[in-house]
């Protein structure tokens, strides 16, 4: 379980470029939930994910993962519990390292590393069987450099890497946005398959409302650094993009009314 309470974060505080990215964001994701997160540009989606991962430190608020307060912990100390796939297919892997070396890095995520050989023989069978589930033929290319793979292949391997060891939450940051439609569909299918098979708890940020409704068990919309609505279960079933747009408009309208109320 992961819970964020009243997260606030302002970039460039005290400068003309002051930008409040999170304005009291609260969200609790329960064990086994697959939450999709939508929101317009600047809504705070990526900042929220970065705050959960530890890449940015919040000004105030609290982040709890599995009953441990991780609010002040840096990224590498959260890595045992928090797995992540980046938007940029090049960001999640090292192109100069081979496929097996990348996977060997991931299999030790959040654990102490020693002077023993990194790519162990006993790992190879695991690597081969999980790579063969991608049906990309990568199981026969363990020694190839990651840089030889296409963006879609690299993103698929990033997903595998994130799921090689157990995590409390899997963070997916628009991880299909940089791919062509066909590859994006493939990676998305793979995502749902892995999450279902391993019963992972996941938080997926997406730009596409359609995608947000198609996958997952719960959808959250962010706007101006806050959660504006949160739907799951029966309310979410049968919901279409236009319904979501309606909800969004309604929320935005309310927001504007609020502002005018305040200003008036």
């Amino acid at each position: 379980m992961i819970s964020a309470t009243d997260l606030k974060l302002t970039f460039g505080k005290g400068t003309p470029l002051e930008n409040p990215a999170l304005r009291g964001m609260s969200l609790t994701v329960n064990q086994g939930e697959f939450v999709t997160v939508i929101g317009s540009n600047g809504a705070g989606k990526s900042t929220f994910l970065n705050a959960l991962a530890g890449e940015v430190m919040v000004d105030s608020g609290q982040i709890i993962v599995d009953n441990q307060d991780v609010t002040r912990l840096p990224t590498h100390k959260r890595a045992a519990r928090v797995a992540r796939v980046f938007q940029d297919p090049l960001a999640g892997t090292c192109e100069n390292l081979s496929i097996e070396e990348n996977l060997s890095l991931a299999i030790k995520r959040g654990q102490t590393r020693f002077l023993t050989s990194a790519v162990k023989k006993r790992y190879l069978e695991t690597f081969r069987s999980s790579l063969s589930s991608l049906k990309l033929g990568l199981e026969n290319r363990l020694g190839d450099k990651m840089g030889l793979l296409s963006g879609g292949q690299r993103q698929a391997v990033s997903l595998l890497m994130a799921s090689l060891t157990p995590s409390s939450i899997l963070l997916l940051d628009e991880h299909t946005a940089a791919l062509d439609p066909k590859t994006a569909a493939f990676v998305l299918d793979l995502t749902t398959q892995i999450i279902e098979e391993q019963k992972l708890t996941a938080l997926m940020v997406t730009h596409s409302m359609k995608q947000a409704l198609e996958v997952g068990s719960r959808t959250v919309m962010l706007h101006q650094g806050q959660v504006v609505f949160d739907i799951a279960g029966k309310d979410r079933e049968g919901l279409e993009v236009k319904d979501l747009l309606g909800l969004f408009e309604k929320q935005r309208g309310l927001q504007v009314d609020d502002d005018s109320l305040l200003l008036g």
Binding site: A53, G54, E55, P74, T75, H76, K77, A79, A80, A83, R84, F86, A91, G92, T93, C94, E95, N96, L97, E101, S104, L105, A106, K108, R109, G110, Q111, R113, F114, L115, T116, S117, A118, V119
Partner: protein, 300 residues
């Protein structure tokens, strides 16, 4: 042509600079950390070893202490960068100039002669090799041992974490790697190797001098880049071999240039030759690809 002594002399210095090139490979290539500390840690290693040898220490222990001193210098540079957020290049320059004073303090004077002291080479003079071959034989062993150890280290879990830190720090952090600690460890190791190189250089040349570090970084880089141009560094092992090959090649090239009478070069031209060789080493691989591209286009 080269005399026997000039040839073995070039090999000897080449092997020592092979260790320097290992260090520079670690910082510049593996960690992507442009580290100029080596201009200070090379004479630091020499100074520490020289003072301890004069005190009567075992030469290998003295060389080990030189390694530790080099590591400490590297750690200071890395900590300036990691903890105090000083730009890596600037952090290394700060440590480098600080080391000039420290080296003078350690030695108590600008240079120490070691001609009468027992060095790591002393026991080897009795085994029947010619005088100028002894140091080459010993340094080959040292370089091979260092190469194998480094290669195994790079293949270890910590070594792989270090490579990921240099290649993709964001990904490394997401995998739970403390990238700051990796930078400190890597830059320390790098300067430890350079400290050993300085200590061995002082012992084979018979003196430690506070100015002996000037240009070490350029020669090390020349060796690294030159080696990479000849031995494509597609694997860690090949990259390490490239360091040694490059360092020896560089030294032989210098020796040939200075010994070729028709060129009319003198030893004061050394730095000019170095700059020309480094430029060639950087430019030539690109030219080679261009020519190759032209040839394939013609065929097509």
């Amino acid at each position: 042509m080269l005399s026997d002594i000039a040839f073995y002399g070039a090999l000897e210095t080449g092997l020592i600079y092979g260790l320097v090139a290992f260090g520079i490979y670690l910082s510049f290539r593996v960690l992507d950390f442009p580290d100029l500390t080596v201009d200070g840690s090379f004479p630091l290693g020499a100074a520490v070893a020289a003072v301890l040898l004069v005190e009567g220490w075992n030469p290998w222990l003295a060389t080990g202490m030189a390694a530790l001193a080099g590591m400490a210098a590297g750690a200071v540079t890395a900590l300036l960068n990691v903890k105090l957020n000083i730009l890596n290049l600037l952090a290394s320059i700060l440590t480098m100039i600080a080391l000039y004073s420290i080296n003078l303090r350690i030695m108590g004077r600008p240079n120490i002669a070691l001609l009468t002291e027992d060095t790591v080479l002393t026991p080897w003079y009795g085994i029947g090799l010619k005088f100028h071959q002894v140091s080459v034989a010993l340094f080959v062993i040292v370089v091979v041992v260092a190469l194998v150890l480094l290669w195994r280290f790079m293949k270890s879990e910590i070594g792989l974490a270090m490579r990921a830190t240099g290649a993709n720090p964001r990904m490394a952090r997401a995998q739970g790697i403390a990238t700051g600690a990796m930078i400190v460890l890597g830059v320390a190791l790098s300067n430890g190797l350079v400290g050993v190189a300085g200590a061995l250089f002082a012992q084979s040349q018979g003196a430690a001098d506070v100015t002996m570090g000037v240009g070490v970084i350029v020669i090390g880089l020349a060796s690294l880049i030159g080696g990479e141009a000849v031995v494509t560094p597609s694997t860690v092992l090949r990259a390490l071999i490239a360091c040694v090959v490059g360092a020896i090649m560089y030294r032989l090239a210098i020796a040939f240039a200075l010994n070729a009478d028709f060129l009319g070069l003198k030893s004061q031209d050394l730095n000019l030759i170095t700059a020309v060789l480094v430029t060639l080493a950087i430019v030539l691989p690109g030219v080679r690809t261009k020519i190759a591209n032209k040839l394939t286009r013609k065929q097509a």
